[in-house]
Subunit: 343 residues, 2 copies
């Protein structure tokens, strides 16, 4: 691997040795796509000028990505790793600043798919407006990992006056979602091809910091932001209800689900309410702010299908769904493991 034309087409154990081949991997593959002054210092730790002004707080979050397959309609593990971390920062109302990325690669993994992943990582980082400040590469023997795992850790700035948390839902608040649910989970499970299922569903994988910035800049009050990833809408709503010690009632008719997602779920025996999303957020906001917030969200490309889907109530506690038949059914947290390695 020299001057971008490689003498190797696969990853060797020596690429993780910390020696010459690790340096080559960095110089010829990672650096050309991710270069910036902070990363390029290549010291043991990156040095970042203080980006926090008086009263601002640091947002800090980490996630490993082990999605299978690593390429799927609408994204891949590189894009997913950026979006997952950027969205976790955005859910605190933070402006994402930088990300550190640690890669664990299985010996024998191709340099071509690795380049593809670095490219899409870099494109997603650019869209989200963040830079890569630090990185690490480890290689394990063939059969000791599954192709490639990424861990991304993000830092961001929580502006003065922003106080968003899962524990801030108030009785009477409205619950909003920015579009259809279950797209990511169904796109990944279809790509996995275990079920010989065909569908045109693409993952909704997207960085939501732009949308959140518009929402918070609109002057509307927002109490809670959460992205319903693993465990889906139902599990995330349960986390909010628990943390805020309230009840949440969702209107089944109002929850947007693509026809193709619904059919795939029917075939697989899944409930879309528990299927993972990677470009969705739940916003809980006071009734007085909800319609202004919806208008603002619908103007953003990742919020066009935003909908009011429910309400925060004093009782019953927990999460409930008003079914299309008119009944009230309890939605518990995800039990067991519906779709392993969805992110």
């Amino acid at each position: 691997m020299k001057d971008n034309s490689s003498t190797y087409d696969r990853i060797l154990l020596a690429h993780g040795s910390g020696g010459r081949l690790t340096q080559e991997l960095i110089r010829f593959l990672f650096k050309p796509k991710l270069s910036n002054p902070v990363l390029d210092a290549f010291d043991d730790a990156a040095e970042i000028k203080n980006f926090l002004k008086k009263g601002e707080r640091l947002a800090f979050t980490t996630d490993s990505f082990v999605v299978d397959p690593i390429f799927f309609p609408g994204g891949d593990i590189g894009k997913l790793a950026v979006c997952g971390t950027v969205n976790d920062l955005a859910m605190k109302g933070a402006r994402p600043v930088a990300v550190a990325v640690a890669v664990i690669i299985e010996e024998g993994f191709g340099l071509d798919p690795l380049k593809k992943i670095v490219l899409s990582f870099s494109a997603a980082a650019k869209e989200a407006g963040i830079y890569v400040a630090a990185g690490d590469t480890k290689v394990v023997e063939k059969g000791k990992a599954d192709k490639i795992f990424l861990t991304t850790t993000g830092i961001g700035v929580i502006p003065v006056g922003i106080n968003i948390s899962g524990s801030n839902a108030k009785i009477g608040d409205e619950v909003i979602i920015n579009g259809t649910i279950g797209d990511h989970g169904i796109a990944v499970v279809t790509a996995r091809n275990d079920f010989k299922l065909k569908s045109d569903v693409r993952s909704d994988c997207a960085p939501l910091n732009g949308l959140v910035s518009k929402m918070l800049g609109s002057g509307s009050k927002v109490h809670v932001l959460r992205d319903p990833t693993r465990g889906g809408l139902a599990t995330t709503l349960n986390e909010i209800a628990d943390s805020s010690a309230v009840g949440i009632i969702i209107d089944e008719k109002a929850v947007p689900v693509r026809k193709e997602v619904r059919s795939a779920c029917d075939i697989l025996g899944f409930d879309p309410l528990y299927v993972a999303n990677e470009g969705k957020l739940i916003a809980v906001a006071p009734h007085s702010s909800a319609s202004k917030l919806l208008t603002c969200m619908r103007r953003h490309k990742y919020g066009r299908d935003s909908r009011l889907i429910g309400k925060v109530v004093k009782s019953p506690k927990g999460v409930w769904i008003k079914t299309t038949a008119g009944g009230l059914r309890r939605l518990i947290m995800l039990e067991g493991s519906q779709l392993p390695r969805i992110c």
Copy 2:
């Protein structure tokens, strides 16, 4: 796994689902050992009050740990993950503040070894004076990872006036190491038992931030700090020589190597200069500061065997060793992969 007495003794895929079992793992295993106000908020991102004063900079570093075996004399993957990250922060002269930890676990991994790892992680974090701000748990199917991989990402504060980098070595500077080399690599390779080798060598795995703080507090000038982990002393010296565009000449007689490490290396055909360390640092400092620095280092428990081992020169460029026979031999970067999965 309820009230600390588990109904499961192994990790299931569902522990990584984001649903009920993930919550149980957090509540009954991680939280009791790692709890602190920042972590306990359990939002999508941690919120940390600004810890940077005017002129201070943020240090930021990430590393995945895939060491095999996960338990070895002198440490385990939990202690290693903390020390590795703390030391990378310390090598910028930073005071470590907090760490985020992401865990990838193989389905079927025992809860007992997991508890042991969490305990030693927590003990090392305590010694280093840092707290866990954020975490993530993923589980992959049996055979898709090797027991457990950890990724730790650290943040710290670089005080005003501290400017330490691999590119700061100056001609005439002295090169110092804080003790014997190769202990970690030999301890791990012995524990691996592939070579039926017996030795009493323990890993030197230790958080070095306390030692660095004493060094910088002593008023001595320090130009470079680096921890010679993967690739060993020789590779790290090459990185410094490259970044600073200087030569470095090491005196073979002066480099401290334990007798047992030397014998093990002889049997295995390794050169101790390329064997990994996890509690060692290389300091490059002006001649005028070196003896004061050595005195200060020798007073610290992780610096008792500190030694002057070499000098920074204008030429020849690269890294050279004055052999005991009196010759000058070039030390290049580690080629190939001497000891995969050493950290």
